[in-house]
Amino acid sequence: MREATRDPTWLSAGLIGLAVLIALVVLVLPLAAVFTEALRRGWEPAWEAITDPDAISAMYLTLLVAAIAVPVNTIGGIAGAWAVARCDFPGRRLLVTLIELPFSVSPVISGLVYVLLFGAQGYFGPWLQAHDIQILFALPGLVLATIFVTFPFVARTLIPLMQEQGQAEEEAALTLGANTAQILWHVTLPKIRWALLAGILLCNARAMGEFGAVAVVSGHIRGETNTMPLHVEILYNEYQFVGAFAVAALLALLGLVTLGAKTALELLSRQRMGGHA
């Protein structure tokens, strides 16, 4: 017997067991299925599928899209969080709601809205065509749809943290003569860096894995506008199940590494800040 609020061992062991079971069935099993399918015929076919030129071009495209979309949402997310947590203006609550809105928008709609805007039949389509600017079925469309889908991740991680942290340190810096950039760089960013990284990693994981929205705007041109999730679908439709799951496994692996990095960061930040971060 130690602490009075400690649950009895049978209870905690039971709950842990139950939680692990749920995690296994709901979360791990799909993952395990992906890897099992990928390695059904051993490593070689899986490796071949991953190193196929079309797969490599899909990988490159996926990374490129993430490399553009994630920084956009990072900068926007920091600005949004700053505006909500550090600034005084009417409509702050509304701003938070709007920032969270894309979470409740179907990925299909996220793609559709850009078709409505930039499609040849859309509002800006004729103008774009007249000026020979390709947005849909090309990199810009993929990036836009990805930005839409991953929009809230960074801001949503930062806002509660920044609201809780308060702005005393920023004000201190201000009285010490620091300007906006100096406050941001020397005070605010270090204060939020771990949460920021966690938000960026989540955003990145989702950006790499997005399917529904990207499918609408991609055009599915082999080796050109297929991202990894789309390439998975194509391989699957070609009855190349091993190849499809091999690429999916690689994608899942990227996600897992991302999540692992996030967990490690959280661990690190707790150590650094003595449990306060």
């Binding site: 009285t175 010490l176 300007n179």
Partner: protein, 360 residues
């Protein structure tokens, strides 16, 4: 530098946190802002630092209107209540911050910055902490770091917001004396916010008492004690107990005997404020119930009494019989301050005893 606050008001959603406050602090003075929680002390400090802006009125520092001067150009050093140290910077980096963010033209080179940081840390007597992080320092040490950081920008004005509130009772006393010593050595105009009257009275040359956003009195500590301007000040400063009484047919009718009637007052309710040394108690068959005895060596014994539901603090004069806890005591006033409902104020002295009161 001198500070002039003229008619400053600040409202939060209609509620006035500061209401037409005017006061002037002279160069080199150590002033305190004293008041209960929510009386607007922090708000006034923030307005001075340029962290908030008044709805009305003006702030002048060294004769210059501050309306258009942003916080970062005011050269006002602020020590925040919870210090607001930069947790991710070492102590030395914290102190150096104000120098490092200067525009390149006015920025000292890094050797010079290091020298100044060392100097400041020695000034606040923690040179050995330079490489530590704030989380590795005790409360008192953090307070010194915050002070060194504020001093680094060579402030013309130093603002301290309850700098001792987070400290242990024992440490607090030591640190506050040290702060006053530092002020005397450096001579920087200083404004200290506190809700601890003992602290304000001990440290400050003059104390501004705030009551719900309004300035009740701004005077030297001895003046505040001897001549409180309002009933609020009389009750808030010193350990006075308030007793309701009245003037009836031109004579003071008070539950505590021994006081003269103020000259020329009309009939009506009055409030009496008695400090413990003005209320004398003695074991005996009096109206008061003894609740507690304060043990005290060397000084006169203090007792806590209950009278008609009021708690009073009284002194047992040397030589008189100390009552027992739970027993009864006879009481007598040797002086008091009286406030009438119309704002009239008088200092009462020991006078004739009315017939029904028993004197010890």
């Amino acid at each position: 530098m001198s500070v002039r606050i003229a008619g400053v008001s600040r409202r939060f959603s209609g509620q006035a946190a500061l209401d037409d406050v005017s006061l002037e602090v002279a160069t080199g003075e150590f002033a305190a802002l004293l008041g209960p929680s929510g009386s607007g002390k922090t708000t006034l400090l923030r307005v001075l630092a340029g962290l908030d802006f008044p709805d009305d009125g003006r702030i002048e520092i060294a004769g210059t209107d501050m309306a258009r001067v942003p916080a970062r150009e005011r050269q006002v050093g602020v020590v925040f209540q919870h210090y607001a140290l930069f947790r991710h910077m070492s102590v030395a980096e914290n102190v150096a911050f104000g120098l490092k963010v200067r525009p390149r033209a006015r920025r000292p080179d890094s050797a010079e910055i290091n020298r100044r940081v060392r100097e400041l840390l020695e000034l606040v007597q923690i040179p050995e902490l330079a490489a530590r992080f704030p989380d590795q320092c005790s409360g008192g040490q953090r307070q010194r770091i915050a002070l060194a950081r504020a001093l680094a920008i060579e402030p013309r004005l130093l603002l301290l917001d309850e700098p001792f509130a987070a400290l242990d009772a024992v440490v607090r006393k030591e640190v506050r004396r040290w702060v006053r010593g530092l002020h005397d050595r450096l001579g920087i105009t200083t404004i200290l916010v506190t809700h601890d009257q003992e602290e304000a009275l001990e440290l400050a040359d003059r104390v501004a008492v705030l009551e719900r956003g309004r300035l009740a009195q701004f005077a030297a500590p001895a003046t505040l004690l001897a001549e409180p301007a309002t009933a609020f000040v009389a009750g808030f400063i010193g350990e006075a107990c308030a007793i309701p009484a009245r003037i009836l047919h031109g004579r003071l009718d008070s539950p505590i005997p021994g006081l003269s009637t103020p000259a020329g007052w009309h009939d009506g309710a009055v409030r009496l404020f008695l400090r413990p040394h003005e209320l004398l108690a003695e074991a005996g068959d009096g109206p008061a119930l003894v609740r507690m005895i304060h043990p005290s060596l060397g000084a006169a014994t203090r007792v806590v009494l209950e009278l008609d539901g009021h708690t009073l603090e009284a002194t047992v004069p040397p030589g008189a019989a100390v009552p027992e806890r739970g027993g009864r005591a006879a009481i007598r006033a040797s002086g008091a301050i009286a406030f009438a409902e119309d704002g009239m104020r008088a200092r009462l002295v020991a006078g004739n005893l009315p017939a029904h009161a028993s004197a010890p």
